[in-house]
């Protein structure tokens, strides 16, 4: 996409403001550092690290009070597995060390940020912070047996190193739950009341939705465990679960959204289904099924495009700095940059998992794959095929072909499958 990392979409906002808000909530005064400036008594993190307020608080609490430099280490587990692949972290048998440092007392300085990081890493003592929360098994669409599951962490303490588009997809799948947990933690009395009133866990998640002002929700629409911005419109039979919808999002009838983050002003077309996707603001979206994908700003996604999300016999690879790298995931869609128009690729063509389309990409179908020219005359009851962009009689286009829709196997046993 070519955006600075601080402007990538996290939830319904940009990463920079989201982290600044988290730091402010945790009691820190955020400030942009300058090269050569000493980092004394402060928290240091690069702009590509996303962290929630709960994680910052837990890290600070876990650090010893004595002067020194401390570095957050996430133990191996579902959260590390979820956001860790391809991330710019230091890996060890004990866990993943993120570039989040707490400096107590005098700290180092560096001529450049790389220099500063090198010194911080050298001085730092790792401090382990477990994400807590709970785990939800996600059943994967992958050949079995056995049935394959992925552990989805439901934690308020989140941290991610956003250095590839896949991290945005993965992080945004975790955010709706974390955002709601943050919200209700700040309102313990109301939360306790909801717990008493809720008939069952699902009812509890419905009561804990955050609905913005001026939302227009059809009575048949279902919203569960989600955050809706101001002015959101949900049409008939829309389902929104575990998702964040930005301001002025419009989901038309029969749209299904699960574990998604939808940017401001996006609009879905009817009967669309999105699972685990991130959409930048201002896009028009339609798909029979789009999974674990990322769509840039002001793009148009049509139903005809198939972004294949399944690795049948191997885990999915993505391109990192010109090289294919393994994500370790069996289910992952693709990414499209800003201002894309994503039409159908043709009757069989699909986009392989883990591909990234650049900004302004316009996907179209080859002319010969569709019927461009209607026949001048139609022989009623005689089968036609698509050939060279036209509907042509089977006998003319393919003299030896017996279309299975009309074949007679008994008359021609040689055509047996």
């Amino acid at each position: 996409m070519g955006d600075p990392v601080s402007e990538v979409q996290v939830g319904a906002e940009e990463l920079g403001p989201a982290v600044i808000r988290a730091l402010a909530t945790a009691g820190f005064e955020p400030r942009l550092g300058r090269p050569g400036e000493p980092v004394d008594d402060c928290l240091v993190l690069p702009d590509r690290v996303f962290v929630t307020a709960a994680m910052v608080r837990a890290f600070v609490m876990a650090c010893p009070p004595s002067p020194g430099v401390y570095r957050l280490r996430l133990p191996h587990g579902p959260l590390a597995d979820w956001t860790g692949p391809l991330a710019g972290v230091d890996r060890s048998p004990a866990g993943l060390a993120f570039d989040l440092f707490l400096v107590r007392g005098p700290g180092p300085n560096g001529a450049s940020f790389a220099d500063l990081r090198e010194r911080l890493v050298k001085w730092a003592e790792p401090v382990e912070v477990a994400p807590g929360g709970r785990i939800e098994p996600l059943h994967l669409s992958r050949p079995g047996p056995p049935r394959h599951c992925l552990d989805l962490p439901r934690a308020e303490r989140l941290i991610a190193d956003v250095s590839h588009w896949v991290h945005l997809v993965w992080l945004n799948q975790l955010l709706p739950w974390a955002r709601l947990a943050e919200h209700w933690r700040a309102r313990p009395l109301v939360d306790a009341m909801i717990s008493r009133l809720a008939r069952d866990p699902v009812d509890g998640r419905v009561r804990r939705n955050r609905i913005g002002q001026g939302c227009d929700i059809h009575p048949t629409a279902w919203v569960e465990g989600s955050v809706l911005g101001d002015g959101v419109t949900l049409g008939p039979f829309v389902s929104v679960r575990d998702s964040i919808l930005g301001d002025s999002v419009e989901l038309t009838e029969h749209t299904r959204v699960k574990r998604c983050c939808v940017g401001k002003g996006c609009r879905s077309l009817p009967d669309s289904t999105f699972i685990g996707c991130t959409f930048y603001p201002g896009s028009s979206l339609a798909s029979f099924m789009l999974r674990d994908s990322l769509i840039g700003r002001r793009s148009f996604l049509t139903s005809g495009l198939v972004m294949w999300p399944e690795g049948i016999d191997q885990t999915i690879q993505v391109e990192v700095d010109g090289q294919e790298r393994d994500t370790g995931r069996w289910v992952l869609g693709s990414a499209a940059g800003h201002g894309c128009t994503l039409g159908t690729l043709g009757p069989r063509a699909v986009l392989a998992p883990g591909r990234a389309l650049p900004n302004g990409c316009v996907l179209a179908m080859r002319p010969e794959d569709g019927i461009l020219k209607a026949p001048d005359r139609v022989d009623a009851g005689r089968p036609h095929v698509c050939a060279g962009g036209r509907a042509v009689l089977v006998g003319e286009a393919l003299p030896d072909w017996r279309p299975p829709e009309t074949e007679d196997l008994q008359a021609d046993p040689g055509a047996l499958p």
């Binding site: 050949p143 699909v350 392989a352 990409c361 080859r366």
Partner: protein, 425 residues
Amino acid sequence: MKAYIYRTGTVLSPFGDDVADAQVLNQSLAECQRRACRATGLSWERIDRPDQATEFPCLLVPDRLYFSVKALTDFLAQARKHPDREACLALARCTSTDYALPLQDVRRLDWDGADPRVAYDLWLVRRGPLPADPAEVRTALADRCQPLTVPMREIDIPVRLPVLDQQARSYKFPITSTVCCDVSHWTHLLWLAHLSFGIGWLEHLRTHKVKSALSLLGALARRGVDKWKILADLNVVGRGCDIHPTAYLEASILADGVQVGAGACIRNSIIGPDVIVSDHARVINSVVGQGCQLTENYFLLHSLCYPGSILGNPKTQMAVIGRDVFLSGWTSLLDAKFVGDVQVVHQGRPASSERSFLACCIGHRAVLGARVLIHAGREIPNDLMMVSRPEDVISRVPADLPPHTPVVPEGGTLVPLSGRRHRDE
């Protein structure tokens, strides 16, 4: 009395399974036979040759004959009225006998006359000897055992079919629990799955009379006389099921440990243990085996799934899915023939299924990962793995694609449409 179930050596294609292992009503055909025998107080024994039957009188049944509890009960009740008579089971021709009749190896009696009947190879034999060869049983017993017609009741529900050849067509869907079927082709499993709704429910009502009556009264009291609301209340839900409040169940039987996601819909179906019906998946008039996983938005209609499959294509209709199959999101199973009936292969030869709408049968452990179309009536062999052709998958996206210029797929990558036209010219 004892029931002898003799082996016929029938193997169902494309599965290669012995017919006794065929999936009927979410259990094997052999288990269905044993259950019917137990329910009617018969002991049973599986024998390799018919002449191994030693106790008389006895029932002699081929291993490929499905008979419901009700059919066997009524046959035995009729037989008791004629204590010295040898007999075979016959059903008067009706919608339910016709429903699964194509390709069955049964005798059609007085077919064009006033009293058409279907005679099945379920024999009540009072004396030996019996032939050693299963193929000779019918010849040896047909004259001795006169057909004994079992009374049956059924409800026929008219169903409209899509218009073909400018003709509006329809068929009758029978609801009955008096069913027999000579299972020798995968289409019989499919048709038995369709009939399972009536068999399963009526057997359940018969075995749980008080509970069923109370459920019905409760539904009437809560919902009034609106049939849809009553049907929505009439479900059998096993232990440990996890059903989202927005899911809709209607007249279905769910075994233990079934998970039903948000917005899912299950109607008139039988769902095996530990099945996962994901969000917004729909299952209608189908039988789903143990441990299947139906992914989000999946649509299963009038189909049979063996256990353990993971299914995710947009729509499966009138199909039989084998054990541990994986069906990816874009595989399409065609299920209509525009001219004539769907033809299938039976005993190595093409044969008419006598249906215009019928999909295919997918063998065990098949993995269909490509965006392929499978034509109606075809058999996909066991263990087939279909993947996409390289030219169909865009696996390389050039970094220097020109923005705001249409690009099209070619050779597994994307090329500008304008340059391609120029080159073609």
